[in-house]
Amino acid sequence: MQNVIDTANHIVAYAAKAARVQVIAAYPITPQTSIVERIAELVESGELNAEYIRVESEHSAMSACMGAAAGGVRTFTATSSHGLVLMHEALHWASGSRLPIVMPVVNRALGPGWNIWADFTDSMSQRDTGWIQFYCAENQEVFDTIIQVYKLCENERVLLPAMVCLEGFILSHTYMPVEIPDQEKIDDFLPPYKPKWFLDVNKPISHANIVSPEWYMEFRYMIQEAMENAKQLIPEIDKEYGKYFGFEHGGLIDKYKCEDADLILLTMGTIGSEAKIAVDNLRKEGLKVGTARVRVFRPFPREEIRKLAENAQMFAVIDRGISFGMEGFLAEETKASLSNQKDQPLIAGFIAGLGGRDVTFKTIEKIAKKSSEWMRAGKVGKETVWVDLRK
């Protein structure tokens, strides 16, 4: 085991190395760039035995990954913001082809106004592409999730690509201590990728073929089934990882003091770790509050949300992103998960931290206090609140 203090971007590079990725294709974009730079160093120095393709765009990066993954090797890329949305077409193609590509996404706002800071709208707007999506709260989780996710994606019951999302600058450029387990142990947990089928000149197959209306739906159904399977496997893999290496991250949802909580703050990413501080402070003031950090957004943990709703009186959902014309992404999905359920809790949505604006524990405490007022009144004052909006 090795203790390092480094940025999440460099930790991503070390995780790629630990996962023994074989082909990397990437294009630089702020704030992802230091991932591909560190990987270039690892490849060129021979520490990581992989092919690294310096492509001319993100669309080409994903396309090159698809080619490599179809050839049956473990594949990696990373991007941010506009790079991710430029990949959009190829993202559908990767999941439709059932290629287990893993891609860290360093979350950054979309322009215009041009902005390089943290915002979930980039990856959230890719939620229907058939990719599994994880959101991380700290650098250790970034490392662990990448290793876990290769195991998940390459499972025959899943065979889907996955994004591992981490917020730009808040994680990507922040130094934190991380434990990197011994390589032999990682190799034992994550054996080499052995696909059942791949491009092989001796056993030729036609990849990504035309499918008529007779069968298209069945192929789509299989992707949905794979997502459901992933939902089962994610907590199991997280537990197994915990047994191996001592770190668990809550499976689908990382819950903190939710057991007896009347008010639950639903969060994602680093707002989730900040919310823990807010919860501790508010508990001292006598407020029965907890926080549930949604770690996996696709497949969405519908059943776990329902379970959380059984004992809670209210959910306050904090979103670092908005689906224009509706509401925050997580608020939307939470409400959808609770439809047809008896005795639903009150739900209020809070939009906060867009374009990298800080969401501190103080902001979260304010959100919680407003929510608890509404909880006592038995009525939500406003469906969606824009937190600290300047006039």
């Binding site: 630089p28 690294y52 765009s57």
Partner: protein, 277 residues
């Protein structure tokens, strides 16, 4: 020229974001000087388009003019829309090598092919400068960058010659060490019609020079001066000798029917038919 040149006249009162010693200052200054010498008191006859990268900041938001800052590589398609709507205006695209002939290269080729009447000024710093110095399609062979720590192993692209092949009416290459030639070239290009391309090999001391072994911007300009050779000189040299050289000059100057001329001619012809019917 009735009055002396003042760059301030064309610029908004903002602080420029470029690093000390950046070649963009020369390109910006030279372009506006050319505009001034052509008698333009302001930029009201121009529209500017740019994508993503340091050079994209030349017009936007600094020029007192209409400008659109678009996504990475897509400035030429946006310029196509503007030119077809307003053929009376000078549409100028500023961009870096990564923008114009990296991610956006297909638009560059097609705009030259269909002879879109725009001027593209490409600041070639031979690197992805804004993201900190990653290898680009224009990076010289064997150059050390952050993504090629042991040297680039791909051959660089010759953008000025590609423009000729694709059908440009004007294509020239200069370095920031030849600001006078560059200025005259810009003046000529602004007055011409059709797809016009000017490549300016430019120093990026921060992201390129530092790793490539240059101590400062001055050393890079000296390198440009010593290694820039004319097209005629280049014709007499062997390929190996040319590898480290920068070939400068005008690669083509010709007349071809422009895209908007063709499009508007068809519109006029078909409308005329309807009237006769």
């Amino acid at each position: 020229m009735t009055e002396t040149f003042s760059i301030r006249k064309y610029l908004r009162d903002l602080k420029l974001p470029f690093c000390l010693g950046c070649g963009i200052f020369t390109v910006m200054n030279t372009f506006l000087r050319a505009v001034h010498e052509l008698g333009h008191e302001n930029l009201s006859k121009f529209v500017f388009c740019s994508g993503i990268g340091c050079s994209a900041w030349i017009p936007s938001p600094y020029f007192i003019a209409d400008s659109i800052h678009t996504t990475h590589g897509r400035s030429i398609p946006v310029a196509t829309g503007i030119k077809l709507l307003r053929p009376d205006l000078n549409v100028v695209v500023f961009g870096g090598d990564g923008d114009i002939v990296g991610i956006g290269i297909s638009h560059f080729i097609h705009a030259a092919r269909r002879n879109l009447d725009v001027l593209v000024v490409m600041v070639n710093n031979m690197i992805y400068g804004m993201t900190g110095g990653q290898v680009a399609p224009t990076t010289p062979f064997k150059t050390k960058t952050t993504t090629t720590p042991y040297g680039s192993f791909e051959q660089p692209l010759d953008a000025a010659r590609l423009a000729v092949t694709a059908g440009a009416c004007y294509s020239a290459r200069w370095t920031t060490a030849q600001s006078n030639e560059l200025k005259e070239s810009i003046k000529k290009a602004i007055k011409m019609q059709g797809f016009r391309f000017i490549e300016v090999v430019s120093q990026c001391p921060t992201s390129f020079g530092r790793r490539a072994g240059f101590k400062n911007a001055g050393e890079m300009i000296k390198w440009f001066k010593e290694n820039a050779i004319s097209i005629e000189q280049a014709e007499r040299m062997a390929e190996e000798e040319l590898a480290q050289k920068i070939v400068v000059g005008e690669f083509i100057r010709r007349k071809r029917l422009t895209l908007h001329e063709t499009v508007y001619e068809i519109i006029r012809r078909e409308e005329g038919k309807n009237v006769e019917d």
